[in-house]
């Protein structure tokens, strides 16, 4: 796996999906020269100041959202390629999140070998499997991405696998949003 220019792409139509721009808690993450810069397909939380921050602490891989703060019950995928000019142009570094509505996307920001949520979790290996969010390592860069999980274990389920990466050119297809 490697980070590419586009790492998160829709499979379903976008019009029914609510996309919301949210300012970044740490504006330096909009700077593509920052080693910690955000990558499209990462998962974000919206904090009590209505600012977006990574859903997990990326200091190391395998961290669960709950370790970061208490605002991680609702997690949102980031849909903005690294370094977009329109994100950098506005003062609050507003960046688009897939905010509301059912959707199906394909992502490269996942780790099929990791599982979180304690007993009952499993690495990404089958269709319809629930996926959760954790810090992952792709080519040495730590990101907030999708990992395997199960409905019964702890941690928020943010989607379900609809097509495995092993059968889809390396892209993990999943459906997410509310109303599944």
């Amino acid at each position: 796996m490697a980070i590419e220019i586009e790492n998160f792409r829709p499979v379903t139509e976008l019009l029914p999906v609510v996309r919301r721009d949210v300012g970044l808690e740490d504006k330096t993450l909009a700077d593509p020269s920052n080693a910690l810069t955000l990558v499209d397909g990462e998962w974000m939380a919206v904090n009590e100041n209505n600012r977006a921050e990574r859903a997990v602490d990326i200091a190391s891989a395998g961290n669960e959202p709950v370790a970061l703060n208490t605002f991680t019950k609702l997690l949102y995928p980031l849909w903005a390629e690294t370094g977009r000019f329109d994100v950098q142009a506005n003062y609050e570094k507003k960046t688009p999140l897939i905010y509301l509505g059912g959707y199906e996307f394909e992502t490269l920001i996942f780790d099929p070998t990791v599982t979180i949520g304690g007993a009952g979790g499993a690495a990404i290996s089958s269709i319809h499997q629930p996926v959760k969010v954790a810090s992952i390592d792709i080519g040495g860069k730590k990101l907030s991405g999708l990992v395997g999980g199960s409905a019964s274990a702890t941690g928020t389920v943010v989607g379900f696998v609809t097509r495995l990466h092993t059968d889809n050119g390396g892209w993990l297809r999943f459906r997410g949003g509310f109303g599944w």
């Binding site: 220019i5 209505n50 690294t82 370094g83 977009r84 000019f85 142009a89 003062y91 609050e92």
Partner: protein, 373 residues
């Protein structure tokens, strides 16, 4: 034409073939006219229309910038008949000015509920959309200018972030260098760090001019809130002389310049907060404001639901940060250090807090109270 008729026409037009286009055209032309009149950033950085061919794209994503050249360095020298000048391999800096969108909310109403309004509510919302868009232009501008003056202040003090600037630090043994941000005359003598905005003094304006004029730049316009400018009406004959004093007493201050420089007043005190005065050079020394797409107006009707929205695509950049300066009429710290935890009083309010209504009608506060039965 009554407001109700406008609403009915709005509704009827949407059901006609070509009606959407006509209404969008109507809304679009009206919106463009209003934007030029009321945004204060457009008076400081006049917008320039650009097209796609003026812009550059990225290999990494589908957004646009316009690259602006900055004047290269050059100098001359005195020399003998036999000597030769030093060489300079020419290199001019360049800056990228990035585009983004400012949009109104997406307004929706059913055609049946539209009939319940006597006022031309759709027309009013069109006008308000323009004002909303312009407010965000101004809000972005104030934040960028604030970042510029604080960055310059930090550089002048040889630190990474602008140092605390309040009455306490100014009164201390090693006060910060006030290079691009300076406290007003009365704030300097406040005796405490607070958010009280002191009345504007003539010397405050002069010091603002001098912050720019002393650096091979010249202040050509300055920005002030209406409420701070009102203090000038209290100036005495010693400040104004008897001619202006008598004129002001009768008619208010009627000139477009004060102390020889044009000023821009704003009533948007939730964006340009009282106590903040900004001073600027002329635009060619300062920055750029580009308009890629003038305000567009979208309108649609699906079944009985009417939807409309307005947006524009712009770019603005303070390319030469040395072309802006600031005077603060309050004694508390307004830097990002927020040393006095009062900074929220001095920076623009949150976007979602803009446009708060003054009336309390929905809370039942109107007098006399009339109750339906």
């Amino acid at each position: 034409m009554s407001g109700r008729m406008v609403n009915e026409l709005f509704n009827t037009r949407l059901s006609e073939p070509g009606g959407k286009e006509k209404l969008a055209q109507f809304g679009g032309s009206y919106i463009r006219d209003r934007l030029r009149e009321v945004s204060f950033v457009r008076k400081i950085l006049p917008p320039e229309q650009v097209t796609r061919t003026d812009c550059q794209r990225s290999t990494k994503h589908d957004t646009l910038v316009k690259i602006v050249d900055v004047e290269p360095k050059s100098r001359a020298m005195a020399m003998t008949f036999r000597g030769q000048p030093t060489a300079r391999f020419i290199r001019g800096p360049r800056a990228e000015v990035a585009f983004f969108t400012i949009s109104s909310e997406v307004f929706q109403k059913t055609e049946q509920e539209l009939l319940a309004y006597e006022m031309p509510i759709t027309k009013i919302i069109e006008e308000n959309s323009v004002k909303d868009i312009q407010e965000i232009e101004d809000r972005e501008f104030v934040f960028h200018v604030e970042a510029a003056v604080q960055a310059l202040q930090a550089e002048a003090n040889s630190v990474a972030a602008a140092p605390i600037l309040n009455w306490t630090t100014l009164d201390g043994a090693t006060p910060p260098v006030e290079f691009s941000v300076r406290k007003g005359e009365l704030a300097r003598a406040a005796g405490a760090d607070d958010a009280v905005v002191r009345p504007l003094q003539r010397k405050d304006i002069v010091e603002g001019f001098k912050l720019l004029d002393g650096n091979r730049l010249r202040c050509e316009r300055w920005l002030i809130t209406e409420v701070d400018f009102d203090d000038q009406l209290s100036w005495t004959v010693e400040d104004q002389g008897d001619k202006i004093q008598s004129e002001t007493t009768v008619d208010g201050y009627k000139y477009n310049t004060l102390l020889g420089r044009p000023y821009i007043r704003s009533v948007k005190t939730d964006i340009l907060r009282p106590g903040n005065l900004y001073f600027f050079t002329s635009p060619e020394f300062f920055g750029k404001f580009y308009v890629l797409n003038q305000t567009k107006f979208y309108i649609d009707k699906v079944a009985n639901m009417i939807t409309f929205q307005a947006w524009e695509d712009i770019a603005m950049s303070m390319i030469n940060i040395a072309a802006a300066r600031k005077i603060e009429l309050y004694s508390a710290d307004a830097t990002e250090n927020d040393d006095d935890t009062l900074r929220d009083n001095f920076i623009p309010v949150a976007e979602e807090a803009l446009g708060a209504v003054n009336n309390r009608v929905d809370k039942g506060l109107k007098f006399p109270q009339i109750v339906n039965n």
